[in-house]
Symmetry: C2
Subunit: 157 residues, 2 copies
């Protein structure tokens, strides 16, 4: 480890000042957890008027894609247990945003697709999410956001 003693980026904050000096502040996992906590709180707030949460948003997004994922695909891609996917899709289906269709070639698998109403809600949700993201990432330039995306992508898959 290069440098365990780091200055807080926000010395005006008394809470930051008091915990300054901990090596936690250079711990990528801690930083990721903190950014996730802030980000998903903001995203859930932005999605609340649409009756969605981030999980539902993620599944709806994939169901709006051109690929028509199975429930298993969704579980793997979203790092969820298949049983959790069931609950999210039950929820989205009850709201009329997605549909399950049995794959005729293998009747065990369900293909998940967005309804027209689902696509319309997703379009609104994207706008809401983008606004929240702009708020969260306002300190980063466009280039820095691209770099961050690229690095996270390499770690994520």
């Amino acid at each position: 480890m290069a440098d365990a003693r780091v200055t807080s980026p926000n010395p005006g904050n008394p809470a930051d000042a008091r915990v300054d000096g901990s090596d936690l502040i250079t711990d990528i996992e801690f930083l990721v957890a903190r950014v996730r906590a802030l980000g998903s709180r903001a995203a859930n707030g932005a999605l609340a008027p649409l009756g969605l949460r981030v999980r539902q948003y993620a599944v709806l997004s994939l169901a709006c894609g051109s690929i028509s994922p199975t429930q298993r695909d969704l579980a793997e891609f979203l790092e969820l247990d298949p049983s959790q996917v069931v609950a999210v899709i039950d929820d989205l289906q009850a709201s009329g945003l997605v549909e399950r269709t049995q794959d005729p070639r293998d009747r065990r698998v369900n293909i998940v697709q967005a309804t027209p109403h689902g696509r319309s809600v997703y379009a609104e949700a994207r706008v809401a999410i983008a606004a929240a993201r702009e708020q969260s990432l306002h300190k980063l330039t466009t280039e820095e956001r691209a770099t961050l995306t690229e690095l996270l992508l390499r770690v994520a898959f």
Copy 2:
């Protein structure tokens, strides 16, 4: 948005292939959530033999620092509700890893400090966490890790 249609970084994975084409894959919040899910799962696994979870590890880390944070400081820094901090510290105190000491200047506040045993356990935990981190970040060079840390730090605070 520059380019919503992106190729999966891992075309060999059938799940990735099927959901490929979704704009979710360029969504920083989604990537952060996925990296966090993978990272905290790995970290919790690495900490399990020590009887810790990531939350307890974070509080213990700060309690081992030179600053002696109050419970309020911990809540703000870790983005936890003060009532959640109570539960984590109860847990760590029951294991003899940290102690609460009343601030003589303001008897409402508790200062949280690691015990000698807590410092010893923390030293072991750091090693375990570092090994898990090496696994999670093996695709990134040292320079890239530093860049990722710096960018996350700017978003986190």
